[in-house]
């Protein structure tokens, strides 16, 4: 049965990576085969905390997607981005800095895909009015979204999975991932100056075209903005306090979503329009497939093997996890990667120890930052590629890698001394 489970899992994984069929079909098909063959039963797949669908992850994502769906209707993001561009007086590097910071901060509060969906159209508008090439700006933003998203539990889907499997709170993420992400962001801004230097020459006469944009017109319904902003604030406070309140983050997100749709006065079509149902179904399928590997003992055996290879040396294990996760997340989407690795890391932490949860932070940093290396490394990258394509700008795999590879390498390299100093030397 173990061999069968591995074959089904690997086959589904290959289909996901190669995109021979849609990833939802591959994950759902793999999950269906595991269930039909009796590798896991309905009880294991739908009701077990250890091997079943992680409903906390699914419903946290659902709740946040609904909140973002309402927030998007308000036009606040367009308002903020155009205000930022005007404050930067249309100077391209300053515009890039403000957009990068805005994207990184928004990615920490919302998911990365949503953030880039919001920032990309306004970026195209500002760049084309300035007469500068939009592609470097789009790439800079998506890289920033993957860095910024690493800071919080809700910022990047891999973090949501890690938090659930590792029983980590919102504040755990904030205090452990936040400081390094701020540092990485500062370094990244400096790097943008060098990497994208050719994108900063512009015609000063065109600045007036940016300054003439009426950002206040972006916000059509101020009452809706006030409601959505208040609920987002409440939800964020709820996330910070969820451990003290002894409540799951998924419950807080759903409460926020429920409250917002009750007071927003929008139709279900409007507030459910932003929900990415394929992503939620993909997660469910993945969890069932990984649950099957856990049930047949493969994950436990792999964790023992890693413990043996590292000789129980946690520093070595953490560094390996960071680097291997970084490399693999550049090759495959970091969501299936983390869904597979999280139970393995949980077993490893139990077998060999996990001071300060360092193994979880190594996995999160490697997966989140490694996703920057290539276009297929993170869902947000693929989304930006699609937006650029629809607007007549092609971003090739190599062009993205030229920037993303350097940023991934440098940011992961900076995490090595951070993990070593914080969790081993200064612990």
């Amino acid at each position: 049965m173990a061999v069968f489970a591995v074959v089904v899992f690997v086959a589904a994984y290959v289909l996901i990576v190669t995109e021979r069929i849609h990833r939802v079909a591959a994950a759902l098909g793999g999950a269906g085969i595991m269930l039909a063959a009796g590798v896991v039963g309905a009880e294991d797949a739908f009701f077990s905390e250890e091997t079943g669908v992680d409903w906390n992850v699914v419903f946290l994502l659902l709740g946040m997607m609904i909140i973002v769906g309402v927030l998007r209707e308000t036009g606040v993001f367009e308002y903020l981005a155009i205000t930022a561009a005007k404050r930067a007086k249309g100077k391209p590097f300053r515009v890039m800095v403000t957009f990068v910071v805005l994207t990184a901060v928004a990615s920490a509060l919302l998911d990365n895909v949503t953030t880039v969906l919001l920032v990309a159209p306004v970026t195209l508008l500002v760049c084309l009015r300035l007469g500068v090439p939009p592609v470097p700006f789009l790439i800079a933003e998506v890289l920033a979204s993957n860095i910024g998203g690493a800071a919080t539990l809700i910022g990047d889907p891999p973090n949501i999975i890690i938090a659930s499997r590792g029983d980590l709170s919102f504040n755990d993420f904030l205090f452990n991932m936040g400081p390094i992400v701020v540092l990485l962001l500062i370094v990244y801004l400096g790097l943008c100056r060098i990497l994208f230097r050719r994108a900063f020459s512009y015609d000063e006469a065109r600045v007036a075209q940016v300054m003439s944009l009426n950002e206040k017109d972006a916000i059509e319904d101020r009452v809706l903005l006030a409601k959505a902003g208040a609920v987002l604030l409440l939800v964020t406070v709820g996330f910070v306090l969820h451990s003290a309140l002894d409540t799951e983050v998924s419950v807080i997100a759903l409460l926020g979503a429920g409250l917002l749709v009750s007071i927003a006065g929008l139709s279900p079509k409007e507030y459910l329009g932003e929900v990415e149902w394929p992503t939620l179904v993909f997660f469910a399928g993945l969890f069932i497939m990984v649950g099957a590997l856990i049930k047949v003992g493969i994950i436990g055996s792999l964790a023992e093997l890693v413990t043996d290879v590292t000789g129980g040396n946690i520093l070595l294990a953490a560094m390996l996890l960071l680097v291997v996760s970084g490399v693999l997340s550049g090759i495959v989407d970091n969501i299936p990667y983390v869904a597979t690795m999280a139970p393995l890391v949980a077993d490893l932490a139990e077998d060999a120890g996990n001071p300060g949860n360092v193994l979880w932070w190594a996995l999160a940093l490697g997966a989140d930052l490694g996703g920057n290396a290539t276009i297929v490394g993170a869902s947000a990258n693929v989304v930006v590629l699609g937006i650029a394509e629809r607007n007549g700008y092609h971003i090739s795999f190599l062009e993205f890698f030229k920037y993303g590879g350097i940023v991934a390498l440098l940011t992961i390299a900076l995490c090595v001394p951070y993990l070593w100093l914080r969790y081993f030397v200064l612990a």
Partner: protein
């Protein structure tokens, strides 16, 4: 009643006609669209006014309602100036689509069904490979709602 009975003469342009001229023709004569013909005069397709807008308005503005609100008149004029130097064939959608063309002997209901299916405000009527004329959505509604 057949399609040929409803067809009225309609202006046509060639695939290589200047896009700006074609758009101006639509504007001046308040046409919902225009017939696009091959060099030999046989109809190729219909270019609806909405397709001209789809070409002119950048996709990122079409996708983001809030952005459409912040764009000023000058920028809108600049967008329409993009038509200069383009040909009619540049405005046509790249993907395959059903041609809104019917034969003269087709029934009025066939014309109506095609119009609804193709989201086209007008349908070209062809006989022996030549353009006979067009049926507009207004002609069709008048046929079904006499005196309305």
């Amino acid at each position: 009643m057949r399609a040929r009975d409803l067809a009225v003469p309609f202006p046509a342009v060639s695939l290589d006609e200047d896009a700006l001229t074609a758009a101006r023709l639509m504007a001046d004569r308040k046409l919902p669209g225009i017939v696009v013909c091959h060099g030999d005069g046989s109809p190729h397709t219909i270019l609806p006014g909405s397709q001209v807008l789809r070409f002119v308005i950048p996709r990122y503005v079409q996708d983001d309602e809030a952005l459409a609100r912040v764009i000023d008149e000058q920028a809108a004029d600049d967008m329409f100036a993009e038509l200069a130097g383009k040909r009619v064939r540049d405005l046509l959608p790249k993907e395959e689509y059903e041609l809104p063309v019917v034969k003269g002997e087709d029934t009025v209901m066939e014309v109506a069904a095609l119009m609804a299916r193709a989201h086209s405000p007008l349908v070209a009527v062809v006989e022996e490979g030549r353009l006979l004329g067009c049926v507009t959505v207004a002609d069709l509604l008048e046929r079904y709602l006499p005196g309305a």
